[in-house]
Symmetry: C2
Subunit: 221 residues, 2 copies
DNA sequence: TTCTCCAAAAATATCGATATTTATTGACAT
DNA sequence: ATGTCAATAAATATCGATATTTTTGGAGAA
């Protein structure tokens, strides 16, 4: 516990804090793909002990964001066009499945959450990228959240994050795309609410593939 | 390093050793699903320190074999019929995809590895279950090993392991099934070598679904 | 030069001890 | 009886130090 403004603040565990920070740094490229991740160095950066750092790195291994090298420590997972394309293809397969299942199980409660997630994303649109990114992920996960298949949802979330990394990589040296992404979102939402599996899935996949093509063009790795 | 018969034996790291042992114990049910996994207790069991145990448990979390509970340690992942059915369904989707890709990329080298894997599995057939289990997994993974999609292959391997656990759970109180499983394997192999995607996939999925039905009957969780 | 081998340095993996947090127990009030 | 609360016990999370392992750098041989 610590005190801020006389209010008790339950701090997240050191491990979890390290996990969140490192994850963010890898996703945004602050820790470049392929880079060696030295415990001592990170220990300093995160202001914590070696144990939490090691454990956070272990956890990031599950997320495929960090690789463990035999007895030689850790490194940020390498990035490549092939890897990006694999992620894109897998996402299309798995999200297609998850979205269809979500729609099959459609319920008013799910619909409402979906509408709200979309609303929040629209509101966050102008503001700082960070906030929008969060809302964007929540919207996409809300689409899949009714699939009744927790493992599938987990995989989709994981692949979503892996994909984000490539967005940041491409953003490094780009002229920003001027597709009407928000119109695409509206269309996906509309089709989902109408419970039209084929249309919703087609639009979702097109949304991903358009972004994919754009990223493939920008990436030089 | 340690010496056995005057031969230097490179010991696997304590973490890796703990990982392998714990994994085996969870898969076979020596550590029952849902059970609390106390560090001290495992530390004694595995004859090692707390750090390797913690790290092994972290790694098993990636494999969905262990769950981390907030600040209350770890437990073996719970098992349920719903979970089993989800795993079965996902395996069918993902292995279908991986097998088709493998066949699309078919090469003599892959074919040969496949034939060998099948051969080894047949030879291991009578012998101790452990050896056959290993060969069986290798055969199934060999089918998918040419998909050129490492993430997909990894997911399939993970789901394969999750499924094994249910085989052991069902085996606890069962009359052994007398399906001609080896004939099913032959048919899958044959179709794959003939590069017939539809037939190979249909047979593979039928193989899984038959086992699935059988397990669903036997399971009482 | 290029290669091999050995010491020095750096980094990782592991241990044992301590600080925190969570779970348990039993006394006390209702 | 039943429920609450504090004290105790148990377990987890974290630290600092040590033992191993890998990497580096350079001396000497081919």
């Amino acid at each position: 516990m610590s005190m801020i403004d006389g209010t008790r603040v339950k701090e997240t565990s050191a491990t979890h804090g390290a996990y969140v920070t490192l994850r963010e740094m890898i996703l945004t490229g602050a820790l470049p793909a392929g880079e060696k991740l030295k415990i001592e160095q990170l220990r300093g950066l995160l202001n914590t002990g070696a144990s939490p750092v090691r454990e956070a790195l272990s956890l990031l291994t599950s997320d495929m964001l960090v690789e463990r090298i035999d007895q030689r420590g850790f490194r940020a997972a390498p990035a490549s066009k092939a890897n990006f394309e694999e992620i894109l293809a897998l996402r299309c397969t798995l999200e297609d499945l998850a979205l269809r299942q979500s729609i099959q199980n459609a319920s008013p409660a799910w619909e409402e959450k979906l509408v709200l997630a979309h609303h929040h994303m629209k509101k966050a649109s102008g503001q700082g990228t960070k906030l929008f990114e969060e809302a964007h992920k929540k919207f996409h996960m809300a689409l899949l959240a009714n699939s009744h298949s927790p493992i599938l949802e987990r995989l989709c979330a994981q692949l979503y994050d892996l994909n984000i990394r490539y967005r940041y990589l491409a953003a490094k040296s780009n002229t920003y795309q001027k597709r009407d992404v928000s119109a695409e979102h509206e269309e996906i939402l509309e089709a989902a609410i109408q419970r039209d599996q084929d249309r919703a899935s087609a639009r979702l996949l097109s949304h991903y593939r358009l972004t994919g093509e754009y990223l493939t063009r920008e990436l030089d790795i």
